[in-house]
């Protein structure tokens, strides 16, 4: 059981980063991006298609990351161009439509659950060390370090650089940010591109553990949204913690035969529990506010 929980930390680091990408897209450009993991999965499959053809793994990863960044930037530019003045719900609905379209294209190109499992490179699959019966694979520290690095880097970018301050200003008052000369459309497209690139790297990292088919990887959006909810779509450290907790829960559920087949339900349970908990507090506030 402990082995499974430890192994779950590998995915946990990845989930934390996916949640972080959702939070950043929401905070900085006010869009709940349902298409996030579909774009990342397409980038990852561009990479694996190239490695299948004998291209060097690093070069293939670079190509996949660039592809996903460009595709994500294109989606961001379309939203900025045509939906800038619309409500958050409308923009979220647009990304749902894009998710459905990209998943259909991905499954068509790369195959579904039963036919499309690809062999992703797994350079960190070997054990790092063993304590008793517990094996800690290299992927655990790599995944955790990657999650921590990106979280800290994003935090520093937002607070210590001029461009980060502009992004904060943009997220707080988009109209005012524009009238003080902040190039909102360009920054927004930059955020979309960055998020697309990071998502591809995360999908590549977790793909060997999750099976490597397009539908599963594209469907990681439910996990990403659950993690973002733990951080209330705002807090980066809580989002990081939420990812790790979800990874451990998933690992735990995979080790228990009775609930193993319901493993995919874990993110939805987390979402439901969080929704219930937050709405409970709202009711309390409302009653006491009268």
């Amino acid at each position: 059981m402990v082995n499974s929980v430890i192994a779950g930390l590998t995915s946990g680091g990845g989930y934390a980063l996916l949640g972080l990408c959702v939070v950043l897209t929401y905070r900085l450009v006010a869009v709940v991006n349902f298409a996030l993991t579909a774009v990342g999965a397409l980038g990852a499959f561009v990479m694996v298609s190239l490695t299948d053809r004998g291209v060097n793994a690093l070069l293939a990863l670079l190509a996949g990351v660039v592809f996903a960044a460009a595709l994500s930037a294109l989606l961001g530019a379309a939203l900025v161009r045509w939906f800038a003045g619309h409500k958050e719900g409308t923009k979220a609905a647009v990304t749902v439509a894009i998710f459905v379209a990209l998943t259909a294209v991905g499954v068509r190109l790369f195959g579904g659950n039963s036919t499309g499992a690809h062999r992703f490179p797994n350079p960190f699959g070997a054990p790092l060390f063993t304590v008793g019966d517990v094996v800690v694979p290299q992927s655990v520290p790599v995944s955790l370090a990657f999650a921590l690095l990106i979280t800290v880097a994003v935090g520093l970018l937002l607070t210590r650089t001029r461009i980060g301050l502009k992004l904060q200003a943009l997220s707080e008052r988009p109209g005012t940010a524009e009238v003080v000369g902040i190039p909102a459309p360009r920054l927004a497209v930059g955020v979309w591109a960055g998020v697309g690139a990071v998502t591809t790297m995360v999908v590549v990292l977790v793909a060997p553990r999750l099976g490597g088919d397009f539908s599963t990887l594209s469907g990681l959006i439910s996990t990403a949204l659950a993690v973002a909810m733990v951080g209330a779509f705002r807090s980066l450290p809580l989002t990081l913690a939420g990812g790790l907790i979800l990874g451990c829960l998933e690992g735990l559920s995979s080790s228990l035969d009775a609930i193993q087949k319901y493993q995919g339900v874990v993110p939805f349970l987390v979402i439901l529990v969080l929704l219930w908990w937050r709405s409970r507090r709202e009711v309390w506030d409302t009653e006491h506010g009268r």
Partner: protein, 259 residues
């Protein structure tokens, strides 16, 4: 001849597809304060939003130092030299005072000038703008416009919700901005305060300019201001219900007082 810092010709502005401002022409010269007055709902803020790019200019031209900018995105207008102090103290509340200034700093924009004009802000550089008093927040917004090295600064109702003492202090600063060679366009609820600091004035009624002339002509003349705002004679029982000027089927834009 040097082009005016800001020139509007036949400008019409819509708000949510509803025409609000019609056929407005005005100029703002460098080093002067141009005052725009009008009752609530006259279209003053919509006009400012149109100039800044936050509302759509349906027709007419907006020239900044001779260059047409009405089709540019708001951030491009700002970079072309247009500063906008919006209504309601629009600081970036989670950023510190200094960070608020840094995000809009451009060209020759100098933080030291802002701290010289507003020593209160110098002491609170590291404090989040959301924790400042109303007057200090308005100083941040004015300072933010100043560090963008503007040719023109639009100021919309900066006195809203502020104590009279603070308003007088800020009005002095408006005069100092003009003294730096900036063209200031000032919308203000306290008409006489604005007319004291201004050079020329325009009065908007129902989205049209019904008066253009020197501030001195309106200064202290409450009855005339009232008539220009509402279109009726106050001594005859307040505004007329049809909103027309006395004697007149004449369209407001062509009224004898507009010059």
């Amino acid at each position: 001849m040097e082009a005016p810092a800001l020139a509007l010709e036949g400008v019409a502005v819509d708000r949510a597809e509803v025409p609000v401002v019609h056929d407005v022409a005005l100029e703002a010269a460098r080093g002067e304060v141009t005052v725009v007055l009008g009752a609530n709902g006259a279209g003053k803020t919509t006009l400012m939003d149109g100039i800044a790019g936050l509302a759509q200019v349906k027709s007419g031209t907006v020239r900044l130092a001779g260059t047409a900018v009405e089709k540019l995105a708001p951030y491009k207008r700002a970079r072309a030299g247009l500063g906008y102090v919006e209504q309601a103290r629009t600081t970036f509340r989670t950023l510190t005072v200094e960070q608020n200034l840094l995000v809009s700093q451009r060209g020759d924009g100098d933080l030291a000038t802002v701290y010289r004009l507003f020593p209160e802000l110098d002491k609170r550089r590291g404090l989040q703008a959301g924790h400042l008093s109303g007057g200090e927040q308005q100083m941040v917004v004015l300072g933010r416009a100043l560090v963008s090295a503007p040719k023109v600064v639009l100021i919309d109702e900066m006195s809203l919700g502020l104590a009279p003492l603070v308003v007088r202090r800020l009005m002095t600063t408006v005069g100092e901005l003009a003294g730096m060679g900036i063209a200031v366009v000032l919308i203000e609820q306290f008409a006489n305060l604005a007319l004291d600091v201004g050079t020329s004035a325009h009065v908007l009624r129902k989205g049209r300019i019904v008066f253009s002339g020197p501030c001195a002509e309106l200064r202290g003349d409450e009855r005339r201001l009232h008539r220009l705002y509402f279109g009726g004679a106050p001594s005859a029982g307040g505004p007329r219900s049809d909103g027309a000027e006395p004697g007149g089927a004449t369209p407001p834009a062509a009224e004898s007082e507009a010059r």
